[in-house]
Amino acid sequence: MENTKDLQSIIVEADTNSPTGRTTTTLNPYTGSWTENEVIHLLKRIMFGASKADIDYFKSKTLGQTINELLNPTAAFPSPPVKEYSSASALTQPDTLITAGQTWVNDPNVDGTIAALRRSSFKKWWMGVMINQDRSIREKMTLFWHNHFATETADISYGNYVYFHHNLLRTNALGNFKTLTRAITLDPGMLVYLNGQANTAAAPDENYGRELQELFCCGKGPDSKYTEDDVKMAAKVLTGWRNNSTTFSSYFTLSRHDTTNKQFSSFYNNTIITGRTTANAGDVELDDLLNMIFATNEVSKYICRRIYRWFVYYEIDANTEANIITPMATIFKNNNYEIKPVLDVLFKSEHFFDVANMGCQIKSPLDFVAGMCREFNIQFQPSTDYISNYGHWSYLATWAANMQQNIGDPPDVSGWKAYYQEPQFYEIWINSDTLPKRNQFTDTMCLTGYTFNSKKIIIDAAEYAKTLSNPGDPNILLSDILKYLYRIDLSAASKAQIKKDILLAGQTSDYYWTNAWNTFISTPTDTTNATTVKTRLRDLVKYLMNLAEYQLA
């Protein structure tokens, strides 16, 4: 009895250590083939879904050109959110200065109802920005930094602060991490969220001083050994900052600043940050603090692990730590924390294109929702009809929130659990509540779509099929759709059954589909035939999105 038990536990252990997680590839440049398979893998990771247009665009270029283009966006930044809400005039401060359709981001307003409407407006807008993203990594990185420097709109309160905090993330998304960290430290939204504005010499608030080290820079890796005293000292350095809610900027008040010297631990080489008494004491001491923190080796390792988990896979074993994370961290630190060089090496590496790392991400809800809109090229209204667009984006953001990713409002300052919670990581996205919701969402988008302001968003599977290489051949049609939607192919038997049951409606001859499709193209006015074709395609796409394979990217 005892022996059997032991044997079982050994078997289980052997299973968890099976070769599934092993890869010995390195950061050496990838020199393998550059086909649609690699393009799709890359795009599904660094954009929201791989749209047909983007795949076609990049497959004619080289890997080097592709990465260069994706890491160096040239598109203008999205225009800021507009007033799409209506507000009662009886408020403390009605925002009558802003006309409908104009942006509210520069208009100060302290009314609580207006703040709530603007936060909501911001969230709808951001959903739209992700769906309408430019052909680059910018939006995926903006979301990455949102998850990293996690804040909650409900806590920040003013929509203006929320927007400018967010804008800071996008502006610096591909810039310098140290610069971004400094800006975030003095960002009004963050000063509200982690109580920096209440951090004074008389009554220090350690919230930001702690998270700066624990969550934003050093992490909690095995060699990250900052101490509780370091938290207290960092908090002292950061005393004295406050917000101006009219100019949406922060400012330093020397009288609130702790001017004593700050002694740090051996983790920071026993650094002493000299207390200053000048008007710029806050700035100078902050620079000292960041120089000290960024001089450690933990910052680059921690950030590279986060980048790895965001773009590659969550499991970091000893091999990955030695062959991928450590060299990435060296590059990051040697480049003075410029973000692009480290991304460039990662995305051009043989490790990134290792088949072991393909298809192993579970789509986040935002990837699931925005990616679906982009891959099926769901049609929204022209930007002049912002009322309809914001209504549609609101619906989509609500679904993502129901699937446990509420844009702008992660669960707490740690961000979403899928990116740090051992041992499940991404698997946390999928549970008995969220998986049926994902299926319900795609079903709805196939069958009825969503109507707001008399305008509908829906997956038009027939229009989608028209973009594929040979939709009249049911075998090629199915394999094309699977190629674009999935990262793991179905078995030949499954494909045969799906083709027969759905496209052929039980028939055994392919030409029945071919005839129906050809008629659909040549005589679109034949409504009964068009219905036949459209319902088959609708059911096909709906079915494929219900299979487990669709959850992977």
Binding site: T20, N357, C360, S432, T448, S454, Q507, Y512, T531, Y543
Partner: protein, 526 residues
Amino acid sequence: MKRRDFLKNTVPVGIMLPALINGFAIKAFGATSPLLDSLLLPVTETDHVLVLVQLTGGNDGINTVIPLEFYSKYNNARTNIAIPESKVLKLDGTLKVGLNPAMTGLQTLFNEGKLKVINSVGYPTPSFSHFRATDIWMSASDSNQAVASGWAGRYLNYEYPNFPIGYPNATMTDPLSIQIGSVTSLTSQGPSVNMGMSISSTSSFYNLINGVQDPAPNTRAGKELTYVRNIAQQTQQYASVIKDAAAKVSQQSTYPSNNSLADQLKIVARLIKGGLKTRVYMVSYGGFDTHSSQTNTTDTTIGTHANLLQNVSNAIKAFQDDLKYLNVEDRVIGMTYSEFGRRIKSNASGGTDHGSAAPMFLFGTNILPGVLGDTPNIPTTATANDNLPYQYDFRSIYATLLSNWLCVKETDLQEVMLKNFQLLPLVNVGECNKGIPNTSGVNLITNYPNPFTNTTTIRFTTAGGHTMVQIMDTMGRVLVNLVDKEYTNSGSYTVTFDSGSLPVGVYYARFQNMAVQQVRTMLKVR
């Protein structure tokens, strides 16, 4: 036999009853009208089950049920594939038609009084396209009309009007319908959501009840795929009720091997015996598109078509025997259908091209046995373009099964069938106590009056936020958005629908409140 008693009360024409609701003629059948029953009997829930057997590809009707009455003309029209008269299987009590020699199982069922043959079932202006004809049969639409829902889906939406909101629940724990062996069917598509679940293959059923997953690659992606599949299996809404039902049945009678229809029907019998309240099961069997070499060239009693018919016959016979063994025989009626029959005249390659009307089979202890309808007549010199005219609209068979077996009230039949159809002497009507629709689940939209003549008031309950009420026709077209706005407060609201000059018939009021949707069926009458 009780069945015989009912036979004498049946006559092969519908009887017009006085119109009960404005302008809509109600047809009922025979002296023991279910309509009268419903007035006399207490409302009870039926435990009846309907099994739909789809023969995909267009089954050649006159080589299935051979028109012995016109044998020489039949033989003349298709000499190269005609079944020799002496080989045709005889049916007790009739000399007019007989069965293909491969169908000994169905012959036995007929002679036991458990099989009904309905001659020449079709519809006006038939379609010869597989896809279109299949859609017509599944949606029960007119030939020139594209109805977006399926007839069983509309029936289930009538019977369980709140589905899927609040389902499963204590009253209806089980799937409303189950499709086996295929991933999808228009038949069970309701006005907005699909009312059924499908078990895409017989092996996936056994995987489900045995907790086995499809193999995944031994990679990181495979690991995550297996994880998602596990959750999918755990959260398949009805996985546990299906497992429990299957577990209650440890022994079944013998089914033929290498017969995929038999494999599917075996599962159906198991789930019925296991106690599922599921009303409709759908199975399918393909390969009937016999354009060439449908028989052996020297012996027309064997070959491709004979093999198909033998499998159908053996599967249904085994299923019926199993239902008897499991002691649930009286609860089940089955029906075969195919999207069309085939051409009267055979072609030179020993096959038949797409045709029109064809026979249907009903099976079970509660069908009225025998042959319904005249033997299809065959032209003396059939040409390649000749087709059999239909005697019975297939929707009359559906309407009869809904009314007399699934116990839909006559007053409500039109909601499901979209029109009135003649009811036929097919079912032992005394078996049906008319129930009322199951209103468990959460009711978010109603209308009154219903049926209505001009205007009707729609009441809906929103949880707040963006809310929409739209009116759609049976083709799925949106006619008007009655409500399309944000509600600050949750609660119940009303809106009036003025149907104006819209024609009488069925309309759907679709309620949408962010992620939630529900459909109310409304009937406009004169």
